[in-house]
């Protein structure tokens, strides 16, 4: 599996995404610049990292969605290619229409950086074989997943809710939801074969014990296992 990390001028979680994919999961990893019209050849996994793609002053991801590289990412996703968007990457995927819904301002209106717990809520390439509770960090101001009732229904019925916020014991909802996300949604699947994952927590920032935990790495390991 070959990975490409999409870098926008305001991406700032690209370093840890590249480090995790290349040095920990040990995938050949390249960088795709936002002005590129094509992904690097033979890309299997596209990772869109966190950050503030183009400053994100208007709306998170609003400007990124019309960048040249996103047209290539769209073609890749529609062909069934693997895509993971984390934090700002998730916001960009929803703005680009590759995932439904939107990420809006946290209910308490503040940026929040801390560890949360999530529980896998559907089977899929990134969630297969995961433990029932994972500890992952969040770092966002706009992470509240919102969608209309019909979309939520479709996500729930279609097994497309990938992760929900929970407490350390796995109980979903209540105070464990850090941003007021509807249905406690932390991440969702999309694409023709659940090949696109968007999530607010940062698995790439918790993939080795030195930085406080390695639960995040399991998502990438699950994908590698599912792909082979």
């Amino acid at each position: 599996m070959r990975a490409s990390v999409v870098v926008f001028p305001g991406s700032n979680a690209d370093a840890e995404m590249i480090h995790t994919l290349r040095d920990l999961v040990r995938l050949p990893t390249e960088v795709a610049w936002h002005k590129d019209a094509e992904l690097p050849p033979d890309t299997d996994l596209v990772a869109i990292p966190g950050g503030f793609s183009y400053g994100d002053y208007l709306r998170c991801g609003a400007i990124a969605r019309v960048s040249p590289i996103m047209a290539a990412v769209r073609r890749h996703a529609e062909r069934g290619g693997w895509v993971i968007g984390v934090c700002n990457g998730f916001q960009i995927l929803t703005e680009a229409g590759l995932l439904p819904g939107a990420l809006t301002q946290n209910q308490h209106l503040r940026f929040e950086c801390r560890d949360v717990y999530v529980t896998p809520a559907a089977d899929g390439p990134f969630t297969r074989g995961l433990p029932s509770v994972l500890r992952l960090p969040i770092a966002h101001a706009e992470g509240r997943y919102q969608a209309d009732a019909a979309t939520l229904e479709r996500l729930e019925q279609g097994g497309l809710v990938a992760f929900r916020y929970c407490d350390a014991a796995g109980a979903v909802g209540g105070a464990a939801n850090p941003n007021g996300a509807m249905h406690d949604i932390a991440g969702i699947y999309g694409g023709p074969r659940k090949n696109v994952l968007g999530l607010m927590p940062h698995p790439e920032r918790m993939s080795e014990p030195l930085v406080g935990g390695a639960d995040g790495r399991r998502l990438f390991d699950a994908l590698v296992a599912a792909a082979s």
């Binding site: 305001g10 979680a13 995790t20 503030f52 400053g55 503040r110 950086c113 801390r114 030195l210």
Partner: protein, 778 residues
Amino acid sequence: MPGPATLPGDPPMTPALLRAHKVNDDEYARLEASLGRPPSYTELGVFSVMWSEHCSYKSSRVHLGRLPTAGPRVIQGPGENAGVVDIGDGFAAIFKMESHNHPSYIEPYQGAATGVGGILRDVFTMGARPVASMDSLRFGRPDHPRTAALLRGVVAGVGGYGNCVGVPTVGGELQFDASYDGNILVNAFTCGVARTDRIFYGRASGIGNPILYVGAKTGRDGIHGATMASDEFSAGGPSQRPTVQVGDPFMEKLLIEACLEIFSEDLLAGVQDMGAAGLTSSSVEMASRSGSGLELDLDAIPRRAARLTPYEMLLSESQERMLLVCHQGKEDRVRAICDKWDLDAAVVGRVTDSGRWVVIATPGYDPLDDAQTPPRREDKVVVCDLPVDVLTDAAPKYDRPRGPDASLAARHAFDPRTIPVPGSWSEELVRMVGTPNLGSKRWVYRQYDSIVRGGTIARPGADAGIVRVPCEKDGHTVEKILAFAADCNGRMVELDPWGGAAKAVAEACRNLVISGAEPIGLTDCLNFGSPERPEIMEQFSQAIDGLAAACRALDVPIVSGNVSFYNETDGRAILPTPTIGAVGLVADAADVVSSFFRGAGDAVLLLGDARSGALSLGGSEYVMQKTGKAQGAPPKLDLDKERALQGLALELARAHVVRSMHDASDGGLAAALVECAVGADRPELVFGCDVALDADASDAASELFAEDPSRIVASCERALVERVKAMAAARGVPCAELGVTGGGRVVIRARGGVELVDVATERLRASRESALESIVGA
């Protein structure tokens, strides 16, 4: 010789004009004598900023020379954009702390944001990628009507900027005191890492080299910010101020990436960011450091405001702007890199050998006016023509009068034993650890991205923030682990400027060694009142000597810093606050030590001189809470004992024999024990402890809450207690076994088993974590 042109609209040189520029009669006479003619209006503006306290350090320079700034690791001490310290394998840590107090009081969000932006630029300007930031904040009393809005705004501003540019904010401080009611402190620290063979200096060298302006366009932002920083506030309040600078962190991010890319090729002779006093200060400093001259053509300055005058362009403090001195012939390559990052670059001048700072412009020319044609060379006139050394070296230097603070003797005489003993020490402790000064600061630091770039090993809330930095050179990567701490207790400095300043150095370094890092360098941010008052100058002078003594004792240099005077409102000064930012190097990731107990059943040890029965509550938060004043004789710092203790702590960390270490500071030993017992971020890592002090119950107040320095609470496996004791004994450091971790309660007993405190960890945790709710709500 003939002076520069008088421009249409230049006001005449009147006493009122000089006063408005804060140039006094002596200074004006000195200026005229140096030039041999009166300055033009534009030149007066230039002098007023270059000779301001902020730029010239005119009241502090005679004292700053007493600070130790050299050491085997020091590559660059004070005087450049930031200090540079060798961290081995061909890499250096580059860091500085700087104040942004006045702008943050006027507009807290933008003031704090642009403070973060400014310090980031100081660091990446030298070739370093910023790897960590900290923020040391001071606000007025928690119930002051403006405190909540200022706190909310500043914290959101620090986060809004730092989070966007992608530099983790890994630590800092937050304290409240009524002296900051009308004059908050925002001290921003950033550290970056660079290759030692690719460090860039703010020097305009190479005759004929072009000077490029890169970044945001110039507006009328913050004109006279540098002179304003040397101003007191008055009750008239913040009105009639210049256009407030607004930070653009995305622009900063582009500048960082573009500059680092430019630095990686051999394209530049020098580089300087435009900070306080903007284009003027940056260009003059570069010419001064290299002993060259400079010619600037203001017609080429990119601008966003119409009809800017030369005066305004030279003094604007618009943010996110850089000056690059490019090797001749490399302009196109620099432009290509700027273009990649969608940045504009304009050639605005050249390096000369004249020793003069010459500025030319076409009167009335405005590129934003579509009707105008580009100016012709023959229409340009000289608007400033000044010897560089007159702007810098000839700036006045004052050895201002010093005199004692007459109130100190009475305050030292206060006897804390006269404070009535509270009914329950348990309830007292629950209350104390829930006060804004002692409680958890998580409402603040959770608004900062402390983990961006994925290398944060210890997050805010710990004694030191710790970051792993991958350092790449010629295709291979070495990992460096850096630790950061910021400290100052202004009350202790006010009661004893020498001792309080020394304590700030000791505590910052202590926070590094107990986290497993060797202190390698310090930066200072010296916040004081008006230097024109003798008691303030006395505080300043003694504080410098205290800092110097502690640096020598602990063998760590100060490599960069900043002085902020005039932190006063209506003649009332802030607590003297010489904030220390400390940088440490962790030799091995396994050496990192937690600040919090790690499990149940470990032994709890007290390292350092407990001086049972002889502790002093003077200046403590406890006395403040009980009497509303910082008073009593402050505890003394013994630098020899501190040095031995810190040596032991680092040895224990590197021997991997302790599971946690945390120092007793604000709130004393009791607060330290609570922090160890319940301070971990995750509830499942809260264990409690049961300890016994070798002290009489009648001394409970000082045993629990005295803020004597040089004490560390450690925990270790019980089997290793004797080994730790032996290591302590070998260094002559007292080591007492206090008790054990665990039990889900914090129990503290006095001699004879007398129970002083017995509280469930849940209550203490809840109290600590709601500490800021009284200010900002739940």
